[in-house]
């Protein structure tokens, strides 16, 4: 579904991602793991067009290299950014509306928003409230619901469990597994390595912008480097 070849992302003189190759198959959860500053978020930013990148990115056979973020989003690639980045001054309902604004007719948007409120009851209760007043976990649910309003084929998730209470972390990982079961392909960037490897099909470990290890989730979990560095055994 997604093929990334020789992806390089630079911020001025700093190379955050260096010649990364990555293949994500349809229907899988592909985890990208690594320490802070390894280039995980930059990889997602490069794929989604948020930052300029070099290399070649194809999605379902279509070259999307150098396309604007909005054009990439319209093809069915959704990004849930790190820190959620919901529109805090807008209401919950307005956040949802924008998620589907370019992807559905007004009637279809309303139907999808109702589905989201069904799936995330807290969003129904808080529909008219400013999103900035939601708790961290509720904001994460809103960020996911907002992305789902577009019915993405591929969902890029950047640290969805960051800063959440343990119970909410479980709920987020359960939801990711559910989305996969519904046929959505997921590229997951996470620092919670054990939980990510539990639900992922494949994983890639980044170190200093380069792939240091890749394989099935089981292979990565069993590898010495990952075992020692991230799983703490």
């Amino acid at each position: 579904m997604l093929e990334v070849a020789s992806l390089t992302v630079r911020y001025g003189a700093i190379e955050a991602v260096r010649g990364l190759d990555l293949e994500v198959a349809g229907g899988e959860i592909h985890a990208i793991l690594g320490a802070n500053g390894a280039g995980k978020s930059s990889t997602l930013a490069g794929i989604s067009g948020l930052v300029p990148s070099q290399g070649r990115i194809t999605f379902n056979g279509e070259d999307i290299t150098d396309r604007a973020p909005e054009a990439i989003a319209r093809l069915g690639i959704g990004l849930i950014p790190e820190g959620r980045r919901i529109f805090s001054g807008l209401t919950v309902a307005e956040n949802l509306l924008l998620g589907g604004a370019e992807h559905a007719s007004p009637a279809e948007r309303k139907k999808r928003a109702d589905e989201m409120r069904e799936r995330f009851p807290i969003l129904r209760e808080r529909s008219g409230q400013r999103a900035g007043l939601l708790s961290g976990g509720e904001q994460q649910m809103l960020a996911i619901a907002r992305a789902l309003m577009a019915r993405p084929k591929l969902l890029l998730m950047d640290e969805p469990s960051l800063g959440l209470a343990p119970q909410m972390v479980d709920a987020v990982f359960d939801l990711i597994a559910e989305l996969r079961a519904e046929g959505i392909t997921i590229l997951l960037v996470e620092q919670n390595v054990p939980m990510s490897l539990d639900i992922a099909d494949h994983a890639l470990v980044l170190a200093q912008g380069r792939a240091s290890y890749r394989g099935t989730a089981a292979e990565v979990a069993a590898s010495d480097a990952v075992h020692g560095a991230y799983l703490g055994h």
Binding site: F87, G89, L98, A101
Partner: protein
Amino acid sequence: MDVFIQQTTNALSLGGIYALLALGLAVVFSIVRLINFAHGEVMTVTGYGMWFVLLLNLPVVVSIAVGLVSAIAIAVMMERVAFRQMRGADVTTLLITSFAVSQIIQVLFQNGISARPVAVVLPDWLTASVMLGPVRVGMASVLSILVVGVALIALRAILTRTVTGIAMRAASEDFAVVQLMGISANRVIATAFAVSGALAGIAAVLWVATRGSVDPLMGAIPVLKAFIATVVGGLGSLGGAVVGGFVLGAVEVYLQAFLPEAALPYRDAISLSIIVAILVLKPDGLLPERTSRRS
């Protein structure tokens, strides 16, 4: 008391014009971080559009319509021709670009029409006075207050009830994430300039109605006042721009009306001192931008 009511009407009228201009500046600034000093030239273009139509002996309604359409067109054209090429540039570059656009338009009018003011003769009823209860006030002031009220209500409706309006509010918080929703950056920005142009156009019609002439530098002082209003209100805050406009209008009008004659030459100095005092007490403005912005 009558004088106070008359001056309050004038303060609301002038403050309303500043508010519209400040709002236009703030709408664009909140999204693209551009302080558009060529915003004053949108007013000038409106004035000359009205003047040209009246030269042809067409009705004043047509002249106002042409003025407003010209305002929207020039604002959108500025974005398309000048500012789009500079998107993502730093604030200083954008500021210098806006000064360049402003100068080019001024020189075009100075050389193409005249450096001197030309008369825009509006119907007598527009310059007449009306009785507001026991107080006589200018028709232009009353109309100005009504028009500003309607414009602010309409803008609020656009920003809260249309997808593009909601996207504009979202873009003022986090433009990148708006693009991640698949929403066209060009469309959001062009709409912001169109809205800004419409607001400047309305302000220009009211400005010309009270002054009866237009000249190439017509917009220079109002846009400066509007900039002060946006800073007083809180740079980037739409509500703040409106509040700042009315505060500035009130300060100017009340000082003009109630200062002792000997102090009148110092009116602008006193007025700006009050603004500085407000900013000392509220450095982020009276109604600062509510949310932190992401790039």
